[in-house]
């Protein structure tokens, strides 16, 4: 067995160098040149200040902004603590949470108690950092945002449409609205 020890060590070191150092650094170099913004995290700047990443959701306060989904990352959208609630489908905690969120969503948006709520608005995502909401969720929030900002609903709905992306390649995944980009568009004069 000792005869196998030397090849084992050398092969291990060889590959640590090749796939543990050369490979990731080479990909880093290529990505930096070819995708300068994406490789750094698709950061969004406003007035030179980084306000977030277009891929990472964040919490927005107040009725003037479209609200992101509930988040289980830290105390909410904690970029250093991604994660899900992991509550099971029959969990009493989950059902209580969803009930509370449905009530809060209807209250915030002035909806009748019988209005069905889009499920993404009252459930936490897998990453806790979901940057998107469903188009149906955005459309339900739009009248409230328009009222709070004193702008015509049609203008807000137009911005929602502009910031809605379809499925990738037209058939992959689901359509969504990027909440950060939408809110920044609302803020921009």
């Amino acid at each position: 067995m000792r005869r196998q020890l030397v090849p084992a060590l050398v092969v291990f070191l060889f590959f640590t160098l090749l796939v543990g150092v050369v490979y990731p650094l080479a990909v880093t170099g290529v990505a930096r040149i070819a995708f300068p913004s994406k490789s750094q995290g698709s950061l969004v700047r406003r007035g030179g200040v980084v306000v977030g990443s277009r891929l990472i959701g964040q919490t927005f306060g107040g009725p003037r902004y479209f609200q992101s989904r509930p988040s289980a990352a830290g105390t909410g959208y904690d970029g250093a603590a991604s994660g899900a609630s992991n509550l099971g489908p029959s969990s009493p905690v989950l059902l209580a949470d969803v009930r509370t969120r449905i009530a809060a969503y209807r209250r915030l948006n002035g909806l009748a108690a019988s209005t069905p709520v889009p499920v993404d608005a009252v459930t936490a995502s897998g990453s806790g950092l979901d940057s998107e909401i469903s188009p149906a969720n955005a459309r339900l929030q739009a009248p409230r945002v328009a009222r709070a900002r004193g702008v015509p609903l049609t203008q807000v709905l137009a911005l929602v449409r502009e910031n809605t992306h379809g499925r990738s390649l037209g058939f992959l995944g689901e359509p969504g609205v990027n909440v950060l980009e939408l809110n920044l568009a609302l803020d921009s004069p």
Partner: protein, 561 residues
Amino acid sequence: MSWQNWAQIGVLIGLIGVSAPLLGAYLARVFGGGAAPGDRIFGPLERLCYRAAGIDEHGEQTWRVYAGSLLIFSGISVAAVYLLMRLQGSLPFNPSHAVSAGPALAFNTAVSFVTNTNWQNYAGETGASHLTQMAGLAVQNFLSAAVGIAVAIALVRGLTRRKSDTIGNFWVDLVRTTVRVLLPIAIVLAIVLASQGAIQNLHGFTDAHTVAGATQSIPGGQVASQEAIKELGTNGGGFYNANSAHPFENPTALTNLLEIWALLLIPFSLAFAFGRLVGNRRQGWAIFAAMFFLWIGSVGVATHYEVAGNPRVQAIGAVGSNMEGKEVRFGAPASALFAVSTTDTSTGAVDSAHDSFTPLGGGALLANMMLGEVSPGGTGSGLYGMLVFAILTVFIAGLMVGRTPEYLGKKVQALEMKLIVLYLLAVPLVILGLAGASVVLPGPRSALLNHGSHGLTEMVYAFTSSANNNGSAFAGIGANTTWFNTTLAIAMLAGRFLLMILVLALAGALARKQTVPESAGTFPTATPLFAGLLVAVVVVVVLLTYAPVLALGPILEHLSL
């Protein structure tokens, strides 16, 4: 389900249908012993490694020496990752200021990545330094995948060689797999992922000043390069805690599909490589068909229940699919497709929270792993697992007609069947024993987030995932304790190396045999009938073993919803 959701599955099947036979043909050349494409490019790099390590490229090993090389190599790997985790706080290249891990967590993580499991009891953002991620975890993502493929190829050699004492050379199989298969595909995939928004940089957290006036830490890291091999090598260890649900690991529905394709690619390809290596491509198609049938069946079950949604949540006024733990950009269909594929292979990457799946959607994921990772299974482990089932199938068919069973001309006799029975019993014993103990003991039981039947599923899922080297979790379980770090590591080691030793012993036993000529009484194994029988045997063996716990876990929870 919209037509787009159906098209998503259809296009994935199309991608697999085109790419797996092509890669299978390439793999057969790489391991066939003759000249292979790319010799001029890869040859010099390989010879450099052989010369430095003093490896005789043409030297052959008995199964015992092959297994010995594998174990020594894996032992060194465990030690290296363990040391990196223990010392990362004091080592350079740690811009996110990860602290050093304690002994139990470091051991669990080292075992987890070396066994191709990638169960994670740490959170990537703060629990692993960039140095550990690159020089430790990424390296094992390559090497553990290559080790699995090496064992599968050794078993195929056992089936094809006659009166031979040797089954190949572990070092050559390891080096050729990494250099000629994993690295080239990973480079291309990493760059494609980066083009879609998967990050790739060397820095730590960037502080963002959010619209609401708070500070948000946006992480950095070598994510695209890690993500590519994590899927391709059926590893599954996320750079971040949220794994492939994290927008930096899996930014779009397109990357989601590519990641699913990447994790299915090599396991399915190996079925075709097998057919070519044994000189009868129809044998490969039979194995592929059985793998494919089990996979697509599970896709159907999980997709149906996830799209249908959680009736309790719907009853209180939230309309739509089951979106707890799922990302808007994927939705329920793409999440279910990913979840089934990651549990049917031994990948364990997750793009959604499996713990929050519907009872039968999540139950399908658990059952996928209970199959023993053969549909199509892990890189290498899927093929050797399915070949073990194939030999069991001819044995059972032989019992029915009263003839000595044979597979590919090799008589299946007492020694082979002993090894196969050990192979099939070892993992269920580990899972049910350790999960049973953990449910009974009050300390471990308190690690559960969910209770009742879902809690039982959460516990059984942890050990099933570890012992089958999957690595996905019903992640509500708080498993970063000394008990779980240790018992889960034992499960991972048994499910990996005990089975590999048995498979290599089987390869050695088969290689020594003479081949018997096919006769009128030979049960043909390259037919749809055989593929169907193989599926039935896999399912029956699993049901006989796990039916009680499946009834008390997912099925009971489903009935109570």
